[in-house]
């Protein structure tokens, strides 16, 4: 499957099928710090992602000051 990562934008390949939690663990990403999106739909960590799928892993923690 194709995984699109953001900030900076890049793509990596992960072998499927896997659950979202397994994909994030393989990439070393903390699930609480991201949203996972497939076809504009949010996925939960127990959702299954298939080999031909394309997903986006979007970070949610922003920086900056008040």
């Amino acid at each position: 499957m194709k995984v699109r990562l953001r900030n900076p934008d890049r793509e990596v390949e992960v072998t499927g099928p896997k659950t979202v939690a397994e994909v994030l663990a393989e990439l070393g990403i903390v699930p609480e710090a991201v949203l996972v999106i497939r076809d504009s739909t949010l996925l939960t960590r127990d959702d299954r992602v298939e080999e031909g799928d394309e997903i986006e892993v979007r970070p949610v923690l922003s920086g900056g000051s008040a």
Partner: protein, 324 residues
């Protein structure tokens, strides 16, 4: 995972509530959390005119969207900080949202108002960009709210923002900052006139992941890219650290922040060190006066330093001997 409310498929998991939600019931959940924050902390009433500081990011557009849905009189305020293409794209996000919601948006530019962008100010003063940016935003948000006659200034600070700030304040024992950390900062008056507008944070009951999910589910076209000047930002590192704890033990962020408000904040109230407020002798804005002398606010001091450096050129760099 199933939705806690309707038992349909869940699209968002909120582990600290041990719950999943479908899109419709997640949006209800977010609205309820914001209504509860507004009520619990008596933030404002339906009669108040609200000015919402919007950056084009998910949190500020989400809070504006929620307040409009809840029927409040909420106007957006976008401050162009002059950070190249990033500022252009974030302004487009704010303007696009206002057009889609038929909401009123006030747009100002730091360069037009004061002659400097955030990158220029950072370069000329040597100040950390995020620190200078925060100073500019606080000054301009309050100035705009006063000039345009708003009762309350709303910001999109969420639970993660507040926890990261609290974490940093505890790490460094900034007791004065701990004394001031709250979801509501009351208005301050000088000589019978409002000098600092009441500031509120209606998203304090929502984690940053929840506001991001809300924005996505509502189809809010927010700017996903991070500010190019934020690299290495301390606040971001604190967020990452606390998020690791939250992942291992859901509810940690909520316990830390609301535990602080309920059981510890009052202990630091006397350390807030707010001093007496006076008018800045240069611009007339509110600023603390620690003695009877003439006071100039931090914004005017920073602006004057930048103007001097611009006229004289930046100071020569001194070689530094590394200390061990």
């Amino acid at each position: 995972m199933k939705c806690r409310v309707c038992r349909g498929p869940a699209v968002v998991d909120v582990r600290r509530h041990n719950a999943g939600f479908c899109a419709e019931h997640f949006i209800d959940h977010v609205h309820r959390q914001v209504e509860r924050a507004i009520d619990d902390f008596r933030m404002f009433s339906p009669e108040d005119r609200l000015l919402v500081a919007v950056s084009g990011g998910k949190d500020s557009l989400a809070v504006w969207d929620i307040l409009l849905d809840l029927g409040y009189d909420a106007t957006g305020f976008y401050l162009d900080l002059g950070i190249g293409g990033y500022s252009e794209r974030s302004k487009q996000a704010a303007v696009g949202f206002a057009q889609r919601r038929a909401a009123k948006l006030i747009v100002r530019s730091l360069a037009d108002e004061h002659g400097f962008s955030v990158p220029e100010l950072a370069r000329l003063t040597g100040r950390v960009p995020c620190s200078g940016c925060g100073l500019n935003k606080r000054y301009e948000f309050n100035r705009a709210a006063l000039q345009e006659g708003f009762d309350v200034l709303v910001t999109g600070h969420n639970l993660d923002d507040e926890v990261a700030t609290l974490f940093g304040n505890v790490l460094h024992w900034n007791v004065d900052m701990l004394g001031r950390q709250a979801p509501v900062l009351e208005e301050r008056v000088i000589g019978g006139d409002v000098a600092l507008v009441r500031k509120v944070k209606p998203l304090v009951r929502l984690a940053e992941r929840e506001t991001a999910a809300y924005a996505l589910l509502r189809g809010i076209d927010y700017i996903v890219e991070e500010c190019p000047m934020v690299a290495g930002n301390t606040q971001h590192r604190y967020k990452e650290a606390v998020t690791l704890l939250e992942e291992a033990s859901p509810g940690t962020k909520h316990q830390m922040y609301f535990g602080f408000l309920q059981r510890a904040a009052q202990r630091f109230a006397g350390d807030a060190g707010e001093g007496r407020l006076v008018r800045c002798s240069s611009c007339g804005a509110a600023t603390p006066a620690w003695d009877d002398g003439e006071a100039v606010c931090s914004f005017c001091r920073t602006k004057a330093l930048a103007q001097r450096r611009r006229e004289q050129g930046p100071p020569e760099r001194k070689s530094r001997r590394r200390r061990r």
